[in-house]
């Protein structure tokens, strides 16, 4: 299950969703809106997605994971819109019979999200803002 949503994220529902009697381990990654970015205080974050493509790319990542590891299920939800500090931007949950598959797949998932999923973050400071990721 993958989704881009403007609703507040929680981990427990995703953990329950991916768990089954065949699961011995669930690995979870939660991305959280952090207060400081390179020393500047962030007031809030704004995430924007190319939703149709983002969900398609997230599905691709799930398919890649299922090829690479023996996992039972993967759930991945990314939030968009305004996030207050401490709120979650992404929750990824991977269940597997064995912990090493779950953990490796979860780590892979967040790395791949950052590579190929078209979602962008704007950091809003007290005295300005910037879209993150421009290297130019």
């Amino acid at each position: 299950m993958v989704k881009v949503t403007s609703e507040v994220l929680a981990a427990e529902p995703l953990i329950k969703r991916v768990s089954s009697a065949a699961s011995g381990a669930v690995a979870v990654f939660v991305g959280v809106a952090r207060e400081f970015s390179e020393g500047r205080r962030v007031v809030f974050l704004q995430y924007e997605a190319y939703r149709e493509m983002a969900e398609r790319k997230m599905e691709e990542i799930v398919a890649e994971i299922k090829q690479k590891w023996t996992v039972n299920d993967v759930a991945m939800v990314h939030r968009v819109g305004v996030l207050q500090i401490g709120e979650s931007s992404i929750v990824i949950a991977v269940s597997a019979a064995h912990r090493r598959d779950a953990l490796a797949a979860c780590q892979y998932a967040i790395e791949r999200v950052k590579e190929i999923v078209p979602i962008w973050k704007k950091e809003v400071f007290e005295d300005g803002s910037r879209w993150v990721g421009w290297t130019g």
Partner: protein, 93 residues
Amino acid sequence: MSVTLRLFGALRELLGTERMELELESELTVEQLRRVIAKKYPKVADLLPHLAFSVNLEFAGSDTLVKHGDEVALIPPVSGGGDGQGNQRGIGG
């Protein structure tokens, strides 16, 4: 022919819209389209070299052909996932 352009982040803000229809004389490659956009919208010309393109929801190479009715998105470096640490490999592989 015409294509739909989708704009996000800084590009959306600079051009004041998240979607526009672009009239083109003929099919052209992504690289040619990049030049057309740079010429037509000089205020984003500096950003364009740092963008990837997608055509119909798939990342597209420079010589991918853009056809009538296609949805083309200008994809800035992605920064989803939280935690403020980008991925050095950049986007689209």
